[in-house]
């Protein structure tokens, strides 16, 4: 089963829930898809065994073959190519803007002269490791790189579905989140009981409904703020899977990179229950179909 952990709002406790759930179960593969700001490694402290560069293909023009016809510029949907035609016997030129390129391959495939080949551009790295029996994988986007979805896709190629896979997703509701949670069997939305938490939870719920992924909610710092998140979940028939009250002790151990279950072993049962809760909802859904 692939379980992803997401939230509209950042900083609600996605990584906390993902890491502690992973540490409470057996046969886990942990995948941190928040490639812009990966944090799970801070808590899991995995032994990293290998690193692989993540690349996307970007065009390179062979100016000996290029006739400056402009076809590549015309087909590039991302305005990543500019062509200056030659004039008065002067040679033209082709400018490539790699940071705009999505690596779709249209220019190289459609160039009438076969003058464009693709070369690798590094956008980040994927690190693979382990923590005890747990497999650990995360991606790290290079600084200044705008597009995280290609890296997230490459990280997800490592999914091993013979294990229980836990995916830590980035915050938000746009393409990086979609790429991370797509194809999950279940998604946990972590929120906090404040107007910001509720507002962004509603957006995240819309995303999951659109993607048709079954989901439930974990309310973190459940005793601060107000009761509107719970009211919303009740009205929308969204299961509240777990509530984690605010504790200064948990907050401090979080700040030091110590998972809750290592501070307070009683939490292990609570996270196992969270997992059983998810399995129960999945089984119920399967038996209905």
């Amino acid at each position: 089963m692939i379980i992803s952990v997401a939230s509209g709002k950042g900083g609600t406790g996605k990584t906390t829930v993902a890491v502690n759930l992973a540490l409470s179960l057996k046969n886990i593969q942990f995948i941190d898809c928040d490639v812009e700001e990966p944090n799970a490694h801070i808590f899991l402290k995995p032994r990293i065994a290998g690193e692989k560069k993540a690349n996307i293909p970007v065009p390179e023009v062979d100016e000996a073959k290029c006739t400056y016809c402009g076809k590549c510029r015309e087909v590039c949907a991302y305005h990543a190519i500019a062509v200056l035609p030659g004039s008065d016997g002067k040679k033209g030129s082709v400018l490539i803007f790699p940071h705009l390129c999505h690596g779709c391959g249209a220019c190289s495939l459609l160039c009438p002269q076969g003058a464009i080949k693709e070369v690798n551009k590094e956008i980040g790295a994927i690190e693979i490791g382990e923590k005890g029996n747990m497999q650990f994988i995360h991606g790290r986007l290079n600084i200044g790189e705008a597009m995280s979805p290609p890296l997230i896709r490459q990280v997800k190629e490592y999914i091993n579905s013979t294990r229980t896979v836990i995916i830590d997703a980035p915050p938000g509701t746009s393409c990086p989140v979609i790429t991370a949670v797509k194809e999950s069997d279940f998604c946990m939305l972590v929120t906090e009981p404040t107007p910001f938490g509720l507002n962004d939870l509603i957006l995240a719920v819309e995303v999951l409904r659109k993607l048709q992924i079954p989901f439930g909610v974990v309310i973190n710092r459940s005793d601060i703020g107000d009761g509107k998140v719970e009211d919303y979940c009740a009205n929308e028939h969204i299961p509240v899977l777990m509530k984690i009250p605010f504790s200064r002790e948990i907050a401090v151990s979080y700040s030091e990179g110590v998972p809750i279950v290592e501070k307070d072993a009683s939490y292990q049962d609570k996270f196992i229950n969270l997992y059983l809760n998810i399995c129960g909802i999945k089984n119920e859904a399967n038996s209905r179909h």
């Binding site: 812009e36 249209a106 459609l110 995280s148 938000g172 746009s174 507002n199 995303v207």
Partner: protein, 282 residues
């Protein structure tokens, strides 16, 4: 006119609480919420929407079932796995590159423009506010950010406003880069946790990459004074001024629940510190 972007790397460190307080403190400014896929600033500013515009951006492929002969050419060239086995388009995977439409031998694929969101110009009791809502599961958040920043800048020039104050998104990717381009100062709000420091370091590298001056604020600094010390030490090594340390204060959450800024809600340690931070930014 001075443009200030509030960013953090890590989410949930208090960007919007700080930005919202600036709304109550600063005179002559336009506020902009650039966290377009999970916007929250409107919950504090209570905008009255004056203008509403569609944001059209990007395209999605559509296969005409009558013309399609299921030859498989499109699926063989699509790198985003967007062509399903029944020759329909997986909307959330399609990146709108249009390669399939160029390659289809029967011309059965056309591209349709996406309505990827909406943007608004609003009035608030704090002055003008430009904000947006990215459509659910849409892309091109960076372009939407660039759009509302351009609108805010024009508005500031027209009305002779002194500041454009930007609430930025978390992360380091395209909407963050779009929020930062051309600003006069980036204010990084972080928290005294290993994650907060790790993420602040990465986002500060991005800011430095674009040659933008940085100032930093540690929120909830007293949750871990030791970690706060490490953050300050790190900032010293980069010559980044730490212009404020906000104590953990439940009043901040209470103000939030009431839908108001901490400045207006109560005089407390947090509100006094934010006032000091705003003075420094001026």
């Amino acid at each position: 006119m001075k443009q200030i972007a509030v960013i953090s790397g890590k989410g949930g460190t208090g960007k919007t609480v700080v930005t919202g307080s600036f709304a109550a403190l600063a005179k002559n400014k336009v506020m902009v919420d650039c966290d377009v896929d999970a916007a929250d600033l409107h919950l504090l500013l209570h905008p009255e929407v004056k203008e509403r515009h569609e944001f059209r951006s990007g395209q999605t492929a559509v296969i005409d079932k009558k013309l399609c002969k299921k030859c498989g050419k499109c699926a063989s060239v699509c790198r985003f796995g967007a062509i399903k086995s029944d020759y329909t388009i997986e909307r959330f995977s399609c990146e709108g590159c249009a390669l399939c439409s160029h390659i289809c031998p029967r011309g059965a694929i056309r591209m349709e423009e996406n309505v990827a969101g909406e943007w608004f110009v609003s009035d608030t009791q704090y002055g003008p506010f430009v904000h947006a809502k990215l459509g659910i599961a849409e892309e091109n958040s960076g372009k939407l950010v660039a759009k509302i920043r351009q609108i805010a800048k024009e508005l500031a020039q027209k009305q002779n406003l002194e500041y454009v104050i930007i609430d930025g998104p978390p992360g380091i990717g395209c909407p963050v880069i779009a929020s930062l381009s051309g600003v006069d100062c980036a204010l990084v709000v972080t928290e005294p946790t290993l994650s907060g420091l790790h993420d602040a370091k990465r986002v500060m590298e991005v800011v430095t990459y674009f040659n933008i001056p940085i100032k930093l604020v540690v929120n909830k600094y007293d949750l871990n004074p030791l970690m706060t010390g490490k953050i300050e030490e790190f900032c010293r090594s980069l010559n980044v001024p730490v212009i404020g340390k906000i104590a953990f204060d439940k009043t901040v959450v209470k103000a939030l629940v009431e839908g108001t800024t901490v400045i207006e809600y109560a005089e407390c340690a947090a509100s006094n510190e934010v006032k000091k931070i705003w003075e420094d930014l001026q």
